[in-house]
Amino acid sequence: MDKLLPQEIVEQVRQVFGQLQHPVAALLFASQQNCDYCAETQQLLSEVAELSPLIEMSVHDIEAEADLAAHYNVTGKAPAIILAAKDGGQITDLGIRFLGLPSGHEFGTLVQDILMISGRDSGLTAATREYLKSLEKPLHLQVFVTPT
């Protein structure tokens, strides 16, 4: 298959990834069944992961690794990308997911998410952090987006 990322974008992202500080785990959950964008998502994520030694990508089968998929709340949601912090082999789930192919406008979101996680800083204000820390029940945010 041809490369998905044009050379110009590759160079830009490589340069931006020069700012990465700590390792980021990118877990892709793909499915063999009925998944229109799994192959493309895997290829896109591989091309991104190649641009920095701090991005560690792994590919999982959402059906064969059903327990792991359930652990990450992505059952039946292929392709799902989980972006997490990685420290000394330990993956820390930050609850950050992208469901679907992050193309077009969403490619920028993917890059920004990687930068944010690598810096281990959400960029949120102190007041927001304080409030979120005080939550006693789970909070679920689903941000619906399109590539355009």
Partner: protein, 55 residues
């Protein structure tokens, strides 16, 4: 635990239909206890989260 998902609306159209998504970005909070349409500033999203959580 906070779960923050970006959801590609055309690929996950059943989910988008479930929440009657008509414009993006649209943030669904705790299964529609709250909504924030558009790329809203942090304070506005937080206010909507508060409303949804206190329901």
């Amino acid at each position: 635990m906070i779960l923050a998902e970006g959801v590609e609306a055309t690929e996950f159209s059943a989910l988008a239909n479930q929440y009657a998504i008509s414009g993006v970005p649209d943030t669904v909070i705790n299964n529609d206890a709250g909504r924030a349409l558009g790329a809203v500033p942090e304070a506005q999203l937080l206010a909507e989260v508060r409303r949804a959580v206190e329901k």
